[in-house]
Structures are given as C-alpha cells and as structure tokens.
Symmetry: C2
Subunit: 112 residues, 2 copies
C-alpha cells in the first residue's frame, strides 16, 4: 500500500493508480482515498497541479522507521534496559551499522 516511497517524485492519483495496475486491481477512487488518508496522517504531502493533487511521501521510509523506533523507545520505561535488549536482538551486521552511525554522529558533533 505504501509504494509511494518507490517513486522518486510527487505523483498524481492517476499515476499511482497506473503504476499499481500491474500488481493489483484497485479502483481509482481507492487509491485516492488511501492517498488522502495518508495525507491526513501527515505521511504524505500534496500540492496542486492543475485540478489534480500531486502526492509525495512526507519523509523517506527510513525516516518513518526511525520515528517508529523512537516511539517504541519512548514507551520503554527504562531506556537503558530497552537499548541493551535492542542491541542484543540485532544482527552482527546491524550492530556494525549502529556503531558506524554513532561514530558518524561523533564527527558531526565535533564539526558542527
């Protein structure tokens, strides 16, 4: 349902609909409704283009994932404990990525 991230630019309902046509048989208005609801939830933004609306993801899906991770962490009670458990669940590869991200953060802080 959220293959809007796949597209590089803002799309009209029609474009999304056509793009989906290969995969799923959905009514034009279905796509419209979904896009509209996503906009109401601030997950997409829209701008006028003639009489049509052009939709674009409000944030890349990675940002959304990061937000969800934050939300989860915020509901944790003891954040240290939650982070320890999270790190414990993560694959070696992901742990490495995390370290990398953290050190990137370091240099950012020093520079800016």
């Amino acid at each position: 349902m959220e293959q809007l991230w796949a597209a590089p630019t803002a799309l009209t309902v029609r474009e999304v609909h056509e793009q989906l046509a290969g995969t799923r048989e959905l009514a034009y208005t279905t796509v419209m409704t979904v896009l509209d609801r996503l906009a109401k939830k601030k997950l997409t933004e829209r701008e006028r283009d003639g009489k049509a609306w052009r939709y674009r993801a409000a944030a890349p899906r990675e940002e959304l994932a990061a937000d969800l991770m934050r939300d989860a962490l915020d509901r944790a009670g003891d954040r240290r404990e939650a982070l320890v458990r999270f790190v414990g669940q993560v694959s070696d590869e992901e742990a490495a990525l995390l370290r990398e991200a953290l050190s990137r953060l370091d240099s950012q802080e020093q520079t800016g």
Copy 2:
C-alpha cells in the same frame, strides 16, 4: 492499560482490578477481558491458581520496546539509512547508552 509491568509477580484478575481501582473505575470483567486478550496475543502468560488464573507479563516492557524497535527497523528498506536517522534523532544521553550497550555486546561476544 498495561500496568501489569508495574507489578513484580503474577497477579489474579482480582488483584489487578483492585490495584487499578484507585486510578480508574473499571468493571471486573473489563480487566478480565483485557488480560485474556493480552494472553491471546502472547503478551501475558497465565497459570492456574485454584480456580483463578494468575497473569504475568510475558516479557518486561523493555523487551517489548526492543521488539517494536526491531519491527520498525525491519520495515525500513535501507537499514543503514534508518539506523543513521534513528541515531540522529536520539538524545546525547541515549546515544551514550547505545554506545554502552554496544560495548557490552563486544565483551559478551569475546567471553561467550
């Protein structure tokens, strides 16, 4: 709704209900239903105690938070990017906790 984590041990419906009585006016059966639904979702476990059931959280809330963080990460597409963004959102304190958790992971790997 999920103040079961607050309690140290397994509780009966009655106990949870009484414990909640100060904060919220809920029918006994409401508490029962909620506990039962949580059990169906494997968020609580229950064991017999006489004719009553005794419920306990299946995992500490920190574990649940960690699980949710994992889920979010899994839906990210580019996990590196998601982790970078997550780390970027996190407070300094949390970043420190993360580093700590990661180094704890290191020593664990060496030892066990």
